[in-house]
Symmetry: D2
Subunit: 355 residues, 4 copies
Amino acid sequence: MSWNSFGRVFRFTTWGESHGPAIGAVVDGCPPGLPLAEADIQPWLDRRRPGTSRFTTQRREPDEVRILSGVFEGRTTGTPISLMIENVDQRSKDYGEVAKAYRPGHADYAYDAKYGFRDYRGGGRSSARETASRVAAGAVARAVIPGVRIRAWVEAIGGDTIDPARFDDAAIDANPFFCPDPVAAERWEGLVDAARKAGSSLGAVVACEATGVPAGWGAPLYAKLDSELAAACMSINAVKGIEIGDGFAAAALSGEANADPMRPGAGGPEFLANHAGGIAGGIATGQPIRLRVAFKPTSSILTPVPTITRDGAATEIATRGRHDPCVGIRGVPVVEAMVALVLADQALLHRAQCG
Amino acid sequence: MSWNSFGRVFRFTTWGESHGPAIGAVVDGCPPGLPLAEADIQPWLDRRRPGTSRFTTQRREPDEVRILSGVFEGRTTGTPISLMIENVDQRSKDYGEVAKAYRPGHADYAYDAKYGFRDYRGGGRSSARETASRVAAGAVARAVIPGVRIRAWVEAIGGDTIDPARFDDAAIDANPFFCPDPVAAERWEGLVDAARKAGSSLGAVVACEATGVPAGWGAPLYAKLDSELAAACMSINAVKGIEIGDGFAAAALSGEANADPMRPGAGGPEFLANHAGGIAGGIATGQPIRLRVAFKPTSSILTPVPTITRDGAATEIATRGRHDPCVGIRGVPVVEAMVALVLADQALLHRAQCG
Amino acid sequence: MSWNSFGRVFRFTTWGESHGPAIGAVVDGCPPGLPLAEADIQPWLDRRRPGTSRFTTQRREPDEVRILSGVFEGRTTGTPISLMIENVDQRSKDYGEVAKAYRPGHADYAYDAKYGFRDYRGGGRSSARETASRVAAGAVARAVIPGVRIRAWVEAIGGDTIDPARFDDAAIDANPFFCPDPVAAERWEGLVDAARKAGSSLGAVVACEATGVPAGWGAPLYAKLDSELAAACMSINAVKGIEIGDGFAAAALSGEANADPMRPGAGGPEFLANHAGGIAGGIATGQPIRLRVAFKPTSSILTPVPTITRDGAATEIATRGRHDPCVGIRGVPVVEAMVALVLADQALLHRAQCG
Amino acid sequence: MSWNSFGRVFRFTTWGESHGPAIGAVVDGCPPGLPLAEADIQPWLDRRRPGTSRFTTQRREPDEVRILSGVFEGRTTGTPISLMIENVDQRSKDYGEVAKAYRPGHADYAYDAKYGFRDYRGGGRSSARETASRVAAGAVARAVIPGVRIRAWVEAIGGDTIDPARFDDAAIDANPFFCPDPVAAERWEGLVDAARKAGSSLGAVVACEATGVPAGWGAPLYAKLDSELAAACMSINAVKGIEIGDGFAAAALSGEANADPMRPGAGGPEFLANHAGGIAGGIATGQPIRLRVAFKPTSSILTPVPTITRDGAATEIATRGRHDPCVGIRGVPVVEAMVALVLADQALLHRAQCG
């Protein structure tokens, strides 16, 4: 199955290829009566828009979203919300090379193995361009859970990690890296510039925190909040790892060191630690939900890499053209969107069963 | 929603609590005509059975599975396969303490926050006992994909990692830790014994490899193979992290270092590396699928931890009684089962769309 | 796909064959805290139990239900409710004939065409015995929507229809036909007796009314209340038709004759007619929901019917043994159960989206 | 839940309102490599296009479909196919009356009861305009099952039924009523004209036959072919009844009269009757699949009908403006589309489980 939908009762379906006329999302199950306009969605799209700095792809896309249905007199009607973003800057370059040979690390070979052929123009459906649809849908999700604040940032690029002591929320949007540590942001300028100029690329770690999630959202087993978040984030292009709370670090701890003690607090327990990342038994505890996502380096690099042609002959390929030297950077608004989409869905699921 | 089902066309639903009369799974969508008997399922259950060594909980459960439907004359009929395992050793202890106070790290508080009350006997539905149902269902999944070999092991306990140079597949089942490194296995005896005697617990990392997965299984976006595996593994009790291929390590690499070059091979490409863990663009490349799963230390420890009562009063709790000092150990057959269940589902989904 | 689950957030999955050790259902998504015991389910099972009169199959099944999970201290916990009914009276007869030849009107040939072989004992999975699981699940559904009253009855047998002027709710459970018209009930005694003695069978029409369904339940398009009810009822063995409100009669009317005028009433509109059967645009209007279901005559008859063997040879088959002369009679509690299951699901879905 | 998707592995999601900028459908799960162009879809849309005769609404919509994704170099890629149809003729009339008062038989009151408010322009989401999206999606479904021929027609209008003896397939597209009986077609001209001029409306019965469906498609229980077809057809605006094969007539028959005897035929059994409508036990038998659908008369009539305002005051409403005097007529291509969509889905599901 192609399976281009995500969510259980608050669901979205995305469509569109990198070089088709447009991309879009249909958001279904949205509660009625929520104020929603294109102006509520556009700012989130602008955050991930390409071409805003020399550290992202130079493809120029205005990424202007249109709401085609589901909103009447400025409020959601409860019917499907169709969001469309036109593709404007599909550079008419020659894709002959990509059409004939497989770019290692890209989906080229896997798509051919699955479907027998592929839309090779800019990666077609496998292009990170699809994530614009997620960000648009995520903006709708935010409207469903106004009490929840979702904030992501880049924690490390190419192994160079921020200093938590210098964490400054205000800094995140003050540099082209969504970096909360101004000093690291300066280092990353040089780091990413060097990679870009060398036609190389870098991986990154994106962290995300959601506050205001009430205790009780989530489900015990196959819709565990951790499980849904893992599926959501792992579905983002180039993501290869996900941690909830301490994640892999917890595997090195003792039970004592990993405990999250509680004491009486105002309206519920006050937790003295949050190793669990705000989720126990798959269900939110009311603490901040914390997760970390690993983005591999962009697979498009100038250095020639051995590969094979569609006919199985040996060749080499160097991916020229426009690409993000560090795809993880623009992953920040995408991670936020996916977290918002999961939480909106869980909010409605919780209400369905527990009133 | 409770959501106790997993899978899209090959689906299973589990039911049962730790101290109820029985637990079980209903497997739906299984192809017809596959040879299946209780004897094909029992060995996998025996691998995760408690009480087999002093390094696991001392609860004695024979975990004998019964097939109640879906099999006729030794073959699957294509109708639902109902699997039941009776609970035998529900020790009639006093659960008063657990009923009244919340064990930090456990689902106690979260369940009460969600449902208003809970079956506190042995953790009820949140007990790792539920994973026996998964292992039984996983055995059916293995019958659906006979060409695939799925092998998991413990890679690290409490931060003590195996030496890859000493990796010996034959060793995995030759020690109580599913440890492929005989030397590490000896160290772990002391490590886990110490934790057990101290009433403490340890985290673990479980690695898994699936070979024989044909290129093409998987889906581009919201049923990405990575995404499905992440959801499946993250749904296991105590799991807080998942990596595909190099995972977080890839985030520190350059595009050159992370490339998986190809050259012509017999029947398709031969890959010169496998940083991607056998998945590109969410679709299998035909390489071995590799993933790593982080288990937090068992939350049940003897050291008293500050917590609150159901009434919100301050108290301390020390979890006496039977538990696994390192829940990750018995997580090995569970990870294998979840991987098998995902791959069987993807195999059928691939056939549905791509014939 | 086998697809043995029904429902969207309040879902049940049934398993089991006519002559296996047991049958059952797993009900998932049930809200927590609802009082539920086996004694709440048993009466509904007793209504459909075979062998209660000479007008039903003589198979003797106590149909005693066991709750294996999901209930603690007399209340639902929000986790899956596993219901099991043991098969007791699987008469050890020789099924050789049914194994070798296809009974026309039965699923025998279709199952072989789909699965390559089948459990032929008593029809295996295709036996109406499966409907006991639905009735058990339906009893749980009733607990979810206590304000809704669901009442079904037999409206016609073999073309002999009740006189609406004699409709007496109290009569429905006072005769073996669930017939609200005492005079018709007397006629039917002779009618069904004659069919039974002749080894023949009769079709029936079952009508159902649900009152207390609040305006707003349902959904505009692919989960229309009419659509869900149609799918639910059409999934019952031997059902070949479904009408909502006036159904086919409405197709012969003019818009004026089919109108359901409204006038102001206490708390909402008062409707002056109910041609629509309580549903407009797929959504409940608050009027009684009315539907009619057509059951074909039992396909098992003594008169030999031309058919073919598994090997494709011509033969004749006469279905001896125990069967219902009119399967529609015991369809009454099954229709009620399916309506309850749809309404419970829609109640939760409505709450999910509309709070 | 809004639930605007239909299908299990071959799924489509529709969006759009009667007076929004556009409507559309996203078709997901389509197999790759199928030839598909707008020219393959347009003819089916033209069949249901309004304004083609005086017997349908006079709204002028070109209904030109655009394929926005999922097709590359003339073939489906296996990724979602986004289909969009712009709304052109949204007459800027005053909707004040419909906004303030509820049209009996329409979804007006039910939508307000569910969502608290509604897009009242032309019925918004509840308008039959949505069915254009289904017809477009249905054209894709036809490409998935080229061996299946699906043919629907109008069997009766306002109670005036065709003479089966005069059934002429060629006649169906030779008159504005999709009527296979030329003599009835002439009668209907007068019938529908009279209704139209009187501002009244008529109900209709639509029949459909699908040939070339291989034995084995379908599923035993909750995805029974009858069940899926019932859900699909009942989801069409104004539909209130569905019959498979003899439907309600079978309820008046004896088992002997309802039997479908078999004898050996070329490649499988030859059936001597088809009371079952080509489905036994929920699974196709290989015979033609036959169903009948009841459309109520259009609720929009000129005769004033008592109703209430949004504020609950008594009033009367007469629905002026453009509407179909018999909505069942244009229901013909919609029924065909829904049957095609169900069969395409079942074809893939069968392949998934049974190879």
